[in-house]
């Protein structure tokens, strides 16, 4: 961090990459490999991820970002008259500039709860209503479910919730897809019940986020339902997602899944976030919801925020009421112990209760 900069808690994608990943890129720089993701590093990284899945029977593609991962998977699987069910706060529904619609598909939104989740009953009700509509040919066919873990505001699905959603999907022939942009922070949380093998078992596909968990760029799309593999594979290129130097993704993911780096990076960030959350609560700030991952959404008086912003950079989420704002305090692999301690001290000196 430069001296003239504020201490950074705005997001988890501001520093470039964990140094081990950069070093691995330097170390493999002069190895000539075949292009387009067919190289040895991609293959090795895939093997490591299969081990994490505890499942050889998955297919893996490395993609450049979360939006292309969501768009390529979902648009590969849907037919042109089909749509995908999402929480109304889901990333595909709110912050991907209509990427799914740009590929011709409706995002069917269900009301998320305050943690950003939808549940099996909601999906089931929606689907049943569709199925019983005598004019169902006039209605977009709901053909899959998109959720995020953790959710957009850092909450975690329970194992039971995911099993229930999986059951509704299976019964009705819906695919289940999990956006894991910040999956590492879930996996590293003590409260988390959703392991990678469980995702591989219960989902048709999910992605393991790299960009927000220590990589320069890159997400690992894991496909358990291999009937989708060929279409996804072929759709990467026309959708602009195929890197000539695909190896740069393989090298990074190989590193992330060596010596537990992926989890340890994220655990560190989680621990810092929990410390900050604890301090926030102690000093009287309310939290939008309980988050056990690296994002903390804090309701904070505007006057205090103004003071803190002189020294710290947060993400402004939205206005809570005339007196208070909701801010996101976010940690990452690059967050330092010193900065967290300093923030906690400054929070304490602004206590409101």
């Amino acid at each position: 961090m430069n001296n003239n900069e504020r201490i950074f808690f705005a997001n988890d994608y501001a520093s470039t990459a964990h140094p081990k990943l950069l070093q691995a890129l330097v170390d493999t720089n002069f190895v000539n490999t075949i292009g387009y993701g067919e190289d040895r590093y991609c293959n090795e990284a895939k093997e490591l991820i299969k081990k994490e899945c505890n499942n050889e029977n998955v297919d893996i593609f490395f993609l450049v970002g979360g939006t292309p991962a969501n768009m390529i998977f979902i648009s590969s699987v849907l037919k042109s008259y089909q749509g995908v069910i999402s929480p109304d706060t889901g990333h595909i529904a709110t912050h991907e500039t209509g990427s799914i619609e740009s590929r011709g598909h409706k995002v069917i939104t269900l009301r998320a709860n305050k943690e950003g989740k939808i549940n099996a009953n909601q999906i089931s009700s929606y689907y049943d209503k569709y199925k019983n509509d005598p004019n169902s040919l006039h209605v977009v066919e709901p053909s899959g479910v998109y959720i995020s873990h953790p959710t957009e505001i850092g909450a975690l699905y329970t194992k039971e919730e995911l099993i229930d959603i999986n059951r509704v999907c299976s019964v009705n022939g819906l695919f289940l897809y999990v956006d894991g942009a910040r999956l590492g922070y879930a996996l590293a949380s003590e409260k988390n019940e959703i392991t990678i093998p469980l995702l591989a078992e219960l989902c048709d596909a999910f992605y393991i986020g790299g960009t927000k968990c220590g990589a320069l760029l890159g997400e690992a799309l894991v496909i358990s339902n291999r009937s989708y593999t060929h279409d996804v594979h072929y759709n990467i290129k026309p959708n602009g997602g195929l890197l000539a130097k695909g190896k740069i993704l393989g090298v990074q993911f190989k590193e992330l899944f060596t010596d537990n780096l992926y989890i340890s990076i994220c655990k560190n960030a989680n621990d810092f976030a929990q410390e900050i959350a604890k301090t926030c609560k102690e000093v009287g700030f309310r939290m939008l919801c309980d988050s056990f991952t690296n994002q903390q959404f804090v309701i904070i008086p505007k006057t205090i925020l103004k003071e803190l912003e002189k020294k710290y950079e947060f993400a402004i989420w939205e206005q809570y009421d005339s007196e208070n704002m909701i801010i996101r305090i976010c940690t990452s692999w690059a967050t330092t112990k010193e900065s967290v301690e300093e923030l906690c001290l400054d929070l304490k000196s602004n206590r409101i209760n």
Copy 2:
């Protein structure tokens, strides 16, 4: 290069990145920047490119690859009933898995000459025929022209050719777009007449290729016709092309356009390629066309090819006749003097005249 590998002349995207670019990524790793390409490095790189253009009035976006650059620009500019004219050998027409069509647009192909070029007369004739068609509403409207410089087989448009194409486009309201996947190799060639300022003057947009000219990934899309800027900007995200850590593209392009690195990398590769071409001709191999850039397309007897392939890796282009193959010998920033000398020696020991 590992010892157990063949000497590599297959393409220009097998080694990761010029060491200076990797070093710059390492050096800037801990600088927290704003995301999505709005950071200081992207801004600095844009200023450097504007200087190269000798033109402040261009807009620049850094994209992850050539296919997304082509697709995002062209689909942003075309209305849904419009198409783009391309040589039938053009990359968008042949090797991007129908990316332009996937966005709803026809690629209208004109027959390329043996160098991979189309000319102003062809464009003009096609457009006139369209305009004079009384049923033109039943025909896709040709609304722009796509060419590559250098072409797919390494040839260079002359200044006069480009001016003529520009004139036909201007007269008929067609945009002109140049795919510069390997632009560096053109710019570094003594035979080249098409400078960056000329491209900025004659084209509505073009891109400066990074991936095949020394970067890990990344292309710089330069838009001279700023009426297109807003639409292109907005379309990057839904098309999956917006990196959260956009700074990794800015850092690299800043480096490429500092101390003339971009040209010097490519000049080196060109010089090696010319030496190889000279040797090929000396020993009696025909070339598909004269190429003054880093790709040499050589017609080579199958028997000799089989021998050389034990030691060297080339790209097999296509069968020429029952006795001969066309191969591509390709150099890059990572090609070494030693490997070129060794290849030339081995070519000479296989002379056929």
Copy 3:
């Protein structure tokens, strides 16, 4: 009606066409005209509609149905990153199988009131929130507003409501489009304040429904904002909406707008519907909302419905509660005085208060 059929009140598109329209088709059968809607009948019909608009400066296209009219207009006007605002009960949002999404655009839904309307404040709030979003490039740009008049459940916007919506649209650069699938029934209602000249003045485009107002098929899309005309015109063919024998639409619309036929057909249907509504209320049935057009949505005990359905055909809308259903009773040009009287008698003999 065949003797063995139930008396029909299910919809307004079950009989083919008003006899005058069929006769006009017979009369003009052997006149050879130019194809694709450029013929004399289309031209004459356009002139008649311009007179109805009290405005020469509109452009008119005859399309085969409401879904293609909505889809062709909206997709012609939107850029690929843009979406259209609609009531969540709007036809494009619910019953066109994602036609707008299939062309790449998000339908942004606002909560409709119980009459199926949205208001200017809702639009304004949504747009302001979008405009003030620092990450607006990550959000679909709302670029126009779609409403129906009458609404899906037969209600009428007031002049003041439409003026307010127009003002919000103008201020924010949003287009305003009105779906007039049943416009005739609005125009023929005494309660209606929205005339055709007012639509031509306040909307960028609207369509005058033929299919549900007495034609075999066909809707007249009226474009007041002529900057959209060329794109709409060109998009009809690739979207499959251009009839070789376009004259069959012109002949019908010419007839509909001769001697006030369009209004008189619909007034008749309205009068019958009002009589039925009056009787429903008299006998104690609640209405979903006040409708002054040809559709009446009635909350009716299941037991009574079961009895009535032996003799009459209604559209089942949805379950109201465990005891009651919502049904639609719908009249058209083909509804007879006798059938209405019979229905009213039977309703009275099933009175519940």
Copy 4:
């Protein structure tokens, strides 16, 4: 025909509909039917067409025109990275304003012969080249074949040619689709070898053209490969092709396939066209190719054309050379004996040999 009009030979879609079809619409006007093509007339027409196919195991949809039939079928069957092979003169490649591309798919063109045909070898060669391409993921996958019968210039495929194309398609997993916009004229020709049962046997789908063979509008899409049925069915609505009053298509097709009307209408037109062709040849005009259907493409001196055009209306096809034009002389159900005799007389008085 009005007195002040020229005698009409320009196309086969200028008069509205065969009187029997109009009469059937009048006769069924007041029968209230269910909407959207599920009515009794559509069902009866489907049964008649199944009998023509000599095959109960086909599915039939009535669509409003040829472009939507082609677009809906092809885009329902193709995945997003797939394209369809077509003669370069095929209607989808030239005169549908990029309708297939607008749905995201490349039309892969093969050079047609002078009759407008492609053959099995061409398809096989193209497919083999694709299959053997090591970078096939960078190339649009050819997944089906589109041809027209008769071709765009009135020529007929032989049974052997169609069997060969079918074989290549079957072997390579390509669908085979036949555009029958003018199928009636083929079926009515003595030279025709391609019957409806043969089409049902050899094609995955084809359509029986109504618009150009006596109907107001409408084409009957026949699907033999029922694995496609559900997707095609569902795609009609979002593509704007579903008529509320679907019965108007059923009523017409029922009539066309009663008492052999479809064939007898077209035979009449063919006979007139043959008479004209014979006269053209007698008087020394060359024909573009032998056509045994209702379209005759004649190479005619400009001076003579100018004279004839005072009295007759033809379609100007294109310039043949500086002295001659190619015109299309086209007959239909509405062509009269008198007009043909008059034309032949006038041709004879302009003989050039």
